[in-house]
Amino acid sequence: MNNRAFLKFAALSSNEGFARLAAAAFAMDKNSEMSFLDDIKTAVSEAVTNCIVHGYEGKDGEIEMELRSTDEALYITITDYGVGIEDVALARTPLYSSKPSENRAGIGFTVMEMFMDELEIKSVKGKYTRVIMSKNYR
């Protein structure tokens, strides 16, 4: 059966945990294996952290997360209306970070790619960034 949920929450780092647990809870009905849920949690955590750190650069904002489920797959769309990404291909490069600091690994998109089956990034500079990812339940 198809299912859908829509969440909108403040771009606060304390919501990173909320978002990944919500996504895992949504998916649990179709696949409750620990490794599957860990993959979902990690990918969502990366996407939401990006919204907060890069999209809104630590400033106030709102993040939208849409969860959709069919019998076959889980689809997650995460959107921020922050600064946007000028060069999506560059941002996806492993180890690249637009904000290099001693505390960043620069592998957020790489992790999303590896832990999910599909990843698409849409962005318009100054308007929004949207990450659409999916993972098959089996």
């Binding site: 860990d38 955590s45 960043r104 957020g108």
Partner: protein, 117 residues
Amino acid sequence: MQISMGFYKNILIISPIGELDHHSIEKHAGEADRCFRMKSFKNIIFDLGQVTFIDSSGIGFILGRYKLALLAGGKTALTNVSDQVRRLASISGILKIINIYPSVDKAIESLTRGGDM
């Protein structure tokens, strides 16, 4: 997340408890660095046995402390690594520069070998 810290000679042992993400790191990175500098530590062991979740921010946290130890002429080691931590660490490439040991004792043994103390 909470973070507990201990030491053996010039090795700082950092034991995060709970979820190692961007949120928890913002709170605790400064604390770990102050401790490292205050006592002139050289090496760092991350005891990850009580970490329930980690993402790339957690890897960034480890990498940041690795650089600190490197500047002090020391090394960094990971211990008690779960499958989730190992997978992420492996993707990030940090296992090329940071070794994993089965226990804190084994890591201490390796770090104290070779006149590094």
